[in-house]
């Protein structure tokens, strides 16, 4: 990397959350797994960052890295994580533990498995509150009931004594959010918060999260493979691939003017409710890369339809995350900016938008397609 990231000059000023060249590597018997390989971004309070990528792209590992949930023995973590002027990678585990749950909290994917089956919802929220606040159980219980009411659980004074399995999926996710919010965290990380939920409930949960974020003025990181969720909530979007950020920009830029072929693929893979099901989806060929044997050069090149247009750079040189256009839009791609613009304008954009305009009955799935799905 030629853009060497210099150490942060003044620890007290700067963005609320800043990651500088974060690397999380796991040495295994098969080789070094580079789950996160040089991730940098910053986030202010009140703003939302959407991190998008396939499974195994390093999204979840980065967030767990921020929270400091990793085995010091199993994981090599380097780089810097600044939270409100405090560096976390070099801080003691005990210091990070004190911040975890208090100033930074996390909402997990599947609330049924993410909650302990043997303790009541109330007990689990009370526990989260009492780790960081020396209050009586009674006070904490009152707080838990307030939180449950705040996230929209009816009869919170009764439901507080229920076990997770007695809640429905959406209610459980609300309870999970209540648990994360118990100490008014300034940084909230939501890892696939709606993946395990019904579509109807997804919208409610997203609404709730947006409301709460405004109320608490927290910084929100939302990790998802669902671009729809990102479009709904995020101010900025960070696209991850093979442990690296490959495109970063405002949500508007990413959706209106995406520059990386992988992002195009993600957009093409997004089913939309405003369109009939067509065969016009543009799936990304191949499978996500192994994080042990990351492809040489640009890790996306084996799956990239435009790799040959880079003049051989694709498999030899790792591309830099470079500014493109205006407003901080960055992309990690060897394609010359003009070529990218041209492909986007002439080939990709019409196909994506074509779906919207040409949608008609004749485009509905054919019988053969249907039988394929049933098989």
């Amino acid at each position: 990397m030629n853009t060497v990231i210099s150490p942060r000059q003044d620890p007290t000023s700067g963005p609320f959350l800043e990651l500088r060249d974060l690397k999380v590597h796991f040495p295994t018997d098969d080789g070094l797994v580079k789950s996160v390989d040089g991730l940098s971004f910053s986030l202010e309070r009140g703003k939302t960052l959407g991190i998008v990528g396939e499974s195994g792209s390093g999204k979840s590992v980065s967030s767990l890295g921020i929270l400091g949930i990793y085995h010091r023995r199993n994981a090599n973590v380097s780089g810097e994580i600044w939270l409100d002027g405090q560096e976390l990678v070099s801080a003691s585990p005990e210091t990070v533990r004190g911040l975890r749950g208090k100033r930074m909290a996390m909402i997990f994917q599947d609330p049924l498995s993410a909650m302990h089956p043997y303790y009541t919802i109330g007990d689990q929220i009370i526990e989260a509150y009492r780790v960081h606040h020396k209050v009586s159980k009674k006070v904490a219980r009152k707080h838990a009931i307030d939180l449950l009411a705040r996230v929209g659980i009816p009869q919170p004074d009764k439901r507080v004594d229920d076990y997770p399995h007695q809640f429905s999926g959406g209610m459980r996710q609300r309870a999970m959010i209540a648990m994360a919010l118990s100490c008014d965290p300034e940084l909230l990380i939501a890892d696939e918060p709606t993946t395990a939920l019904d579509v109807t409930v997804q919208a409610q949960i997203l609404d709730l999260m947006r409301d709460l974020q405004q109320e608490f003025n927290s910084a929100l990181i939302i990790i998802t493979h669902d671009l729809g969720v990102t479009a709904e909530l995020a101010d900025d979007v960070l696209v991850m691939y093979g442990g690296k950020c490959i495109e970063y920009g405002t949500a508007t830029e990413i959706f209106e003017n995406p520059q990386h072929p992988y992002t195009w693929g993600l957009l093409g893979s997004m089913p939309r409710l405003d369109q009939p099901v067509t065969e016009r989806l543009l799936p990304i060929k191949g499978t996500p890369p192994s994080l042990i044997n990351v492809p040489s050069g640009c890790s996306f090149h084996p799956r990239c339809a435009f790799a040959e247009k880079t003049g051989g750079l694709d498999s030899t040189v790792v591309p830099e995350l470079e500014l493109t256009g205006s407003s901080g839009h960055r992309v990690r791609c060897h394609l010359p900016a003009q070529v990218r613009q041209q492909i986007w304008r002439d080939e990709i954009k019409p196909t994506l938008e074509g779906e919207r305009s040409v949608a008609s009955m004749s485009e509905l799935p054919s019988a053969s397609h249907e039988s394929e799905e049933l098989a």
């Binding site: 949930i69 533990r97 911040l99 498995s113 009541t120 076990y163 007695q166 994360a180 409930v201």
Partner: protein, 356 residues
Amino acid sequence: MAGPAGLECPAGPAAQAEIVVTFFIRRTIGAVLMLFVVSIATFLIFFGLPRLAGATPETFAARYLSRTADAHAQQVFAEKLGFYDPLWMQYGRWIKAIFVGTDYDYGTGIEHCAAPCFGYSFRTNHAVWTDLLDRMPVTVSLTVGASILWLVTGVGVGVLSALRKGSFFDRAAMTGALAGVSLPPYFTGLMFLYFFSYQFDLTAPGGTYVDFTDNPGEWAYSLILPWITLAMLNAAAYARFTRAGMLDTMGEDFIRTARAKGLHERVVVTKHGLRAALTPIITIFGLDVGLLLGGAILTESTFGLKGLGYFAIDAIGKQDFPQIMGVTMFAAFFVVVANLIVDMLYAVVDPRVRLS
């Protein structure tokens, strides 16, 4: 109760308690039925199966008589003991004796055998029930001491192994556990006796037993080797079991949640990890204890402890049917009760069990 859409009907505390009580009553009835099934099976094995093999009422009666008794005496005795009656009547009498007692007519006078009456030993003429009660304290002492020992060490080692998976400690402990599982108590027990009792004179020699009520110190001193011998066997199994359970549990999502809350690692491991990992261990622990209360045959024999296991093996060797049947029912009772307790504990420990 009609709740908002997407909301399961919340059960109030009263309804919850009712469900728990129903659950307990249902399981208790099941346990009693199970004991009856065991009693029928036991009875059939001793009084039904021999008939298929050609036994006659006279041969049954012969068991109760001396070898010199002639055919006439056998017939008279078979008549007296009701061996000519249909099997179900004989079973009914046997069960009745257990519940309300019975009277034996010896010709010279009537002797009352008070409930629970399992009859008298062929050889010693002791009431089986009294003998069983006499042997109980030894077996209970052995089981209780050993079970505490193996539970604490087994679970402790298992947890530490899981938390330090792949470390030297883990490997050493698991190798030791393998050895512990593989070595039979009559080997380890004799080795212990040889070294600790006879070479170094640190522990009581074999065959020693002092009642707890007489002298608790002596009691523990006399039992320490049997405890260790018996515990080793199970501690090894429990260590492996706990280790596997802990490794599973510590990989669960709720452990990650617990860490994300900022809990101390100690709390994460004990309150969240161990609590969940222990549930299946409670099950096997209950069953193991129930089984041992019926007699730890090998350990008792090795150390010459006159407990129920020793009693059983002795009765089998001498073909003392009333004793064998008595000790079988006794052991079955403990296993069934242990099962019942485990079921109930499960409902207390895992809230998901109650509603199902």
